[in-house]
């Protein structure tokens, strides 16, 4: 009986999570939007397209070394949410970001996102697709490619959101030395110190998953942020309750 209960717990947890996402998304759709705290990384990203237009220099977006069929999928999807925002801006302004990645599957999704944003204009879509670059599957080779990209294209700004490892510092340092506006984010705790050291603004851990909510105000993303907060409170109370129970016992 207890064994069955333990096996059913993850399913129950997921069902509660699903219900919370639906509930909060529905609330947001009905106009009950929460006040989102300001995240400076996203504020900077919002201003980058304007800076790229003013200076006439390229904007670079790195989707990292993660893929879409492994444990790094969520990080890559977070990077794709940023791309989706920048692609929509590009469709309006005509300044397409240069997008790089290490996984070829991610490249296909990036092309899809870019094509989706330029759906009304085939010519500009074709031009935007030229800026999507698959570099190399190995993390160090990818980092070398991005370093070269930042140097040769004389990028105005770089946004690196996705899955990264130690190789982040190689790219981040080039951006820092060239005084390029730089926003970095990853969920890998080992890469976060490198991002903090080299980037102007850091998207710390789970903040990268909030890209859709902050940049595009997507209802489902805001709803899932609220669901995450609700679950987090549940976990905090469970931990606190456990401590109390064991202390009293």
């Amino acid at each position: 009986m207890i064994a069955n209960l333990i096996l059913a717990t993850p399913v129950l947890f997921l069902l509660i999570f699903v219900w919370l996402i639906y509930y909060f998304t529905h609330r947001v759709q009905n106009g009950k939007k929460p006040l989102l705290r300001s995240i400076r990384g996203f504020e900077l990203i919002k201003g980058l397209t304007g800076r790229a237009i003013e200076t006439g220099r390229a904007l670079h977006l790195s989707l990292g070394v993660g893929g879409l069929a492994d444990s790094t999928t969520a990080d890559t999807l977070a990077g794709l949410a940023v791309l989706s925002y920048l692609a929509q801006k590009a469709a309006i302004t005509g300044v397409s970001p240069t997008v790089s990645m290490a996984n070829p599957m991610t490249m296909l999704y990036a092309q899809n996102a870019m094509r989706g944003a330029h759906i009304d204009d085939a010519d500009s879509a074709e031009e935007a697709l030229r800026h999507i670059r698959w570099i190399a599957p190995q993390p160090t080779a990818y980092a070398a490619g991005v370093m070269n990209l930042l140097a040769i294209d004389k990028a105005e700004a770089t946004v690196m959101v996705g899955h990264f490892g130690d190789e982040y510092l190689l790219m981040g340092e080039v951006a820092a030395r060239r005084e390029v506006a730089h926003v970095g984010g990853s969920s890998n705790p080992n890469a976060l110190p490198f991002i903090y050291l080299s980037a102007d603004q850091t998207l710390m851990g789970e903040e990268i998953y909030a890209a859709g909510a902050y940049l595009q105000q997507r209802h489902s993303h805001i709803g899932s942020l609220m669901a995450q907060d609700a679950i987090r409170w549940l976990i905090v109370f469970t931990i606190f309750g456990g401590i109390l129970y064991h202390t009293i016992k």
């Binding site: 999570f17 699903v18 996402i21 599957p137 851990g205 909030a210 899932s224």
Partner: protein, 224 residues
């Protein structure tokens, strides 16, 4: 209309495939076979994951075409760094030709052992230099946050090597003994670990939420 039907079809395929793979994860843990159902779900889950591997292999071919087209365009339009693009294309084609005999062939092994591996190792070694310059920049105190950062880094760095063990003395007024390695251990094991666990918990929740949004069809990166 065709696009709309295509989107609906893609969404249905994605949700059904995702649900099967998720069910497979749970069913594997359950005792018993449930009249062969467990085995069937296991096999289907494995099949879907193997299909993902095949699709990734095809994506690699498209990636190859992307590299060729980007660098050929750089050479054609004589952009800055076109020479490097030429070297890259030559290396790419050379590796491809060598690869026809298989990666285990003598030439293939030579490429990996004598060129690729040393290059990667050299590049990784550059990290040490980059770390030093990044640390130098980080130690410059600009605001209160960077002051904390520099102070904590200083304590941990000093507490790590053997010389740190000599940094201990009796505390004058309050009494007791100050030992730097103990302070360093406290920083690493209490506030740093607590922060790390907080980040990991948040990341886990964010990952689950992202996955559930795709499973629920609220997020469709494949059909946007």
């Amino acid at each position: 209309m065709i696009i709309r039907i295509g989107r609906i079809f893609a969404t249905v395929v994605a949700i059904v495939s995702g649900l099967f793979v998720l069910t497979d994860m749970f069913v594997t843990q359950w005792p018993g076979n449930f009249f062969g159902l467990k085995m069937a779900v296991n096999n289907l889950g494995l099949l879907l994951v193997s299909w993902a591997a095949i699709v990734t292999a095809f994506a690699l071919l498209l990636g190859f075409a992307n590299v060729m087209s980007v660098h050929a365009n750089r050479i054609r339009t004589r952009q800055p760094g076109a020479m490097y693009s030429g070297v890259l294309l030559l290396s790419l084609i050379g590796t491809l030709v060598v690869g026809f005999r298989g990666p285990a062939s003598a030439n293939g092994q030579f490429l990996f052992n004598a060129i690729l591996q040393p290059l990667e190792a050299t590049f990784s070694a550059l990290l040490v230099l980059f770390m030093a310059t990044a640390a130098y920049r980080a130690m410059r105190i600009r605001d209160l946050e960077s002051l904390y950062f520099a102070l904590i880094a200083f304590i941990v760095l000093l507490g790590q090597p053997p010389i740190g063990t000599y940094l201990q003395f009796e505390l004058p007024i309050i009494g007791g003994r100050f030992e730097l390695p103990i302070l360093k251990d406290f920083i690493l094991e209490v506030p740093a670990l607590a922060g790390m666990r907080g980040i990991l918990l948040g990341v886990a929740l964010g990952t689950i939420a992202t996955g559930l949004r795709v499973l629920m069809g609220l997020d469709r990166p494949y059909a946007d």
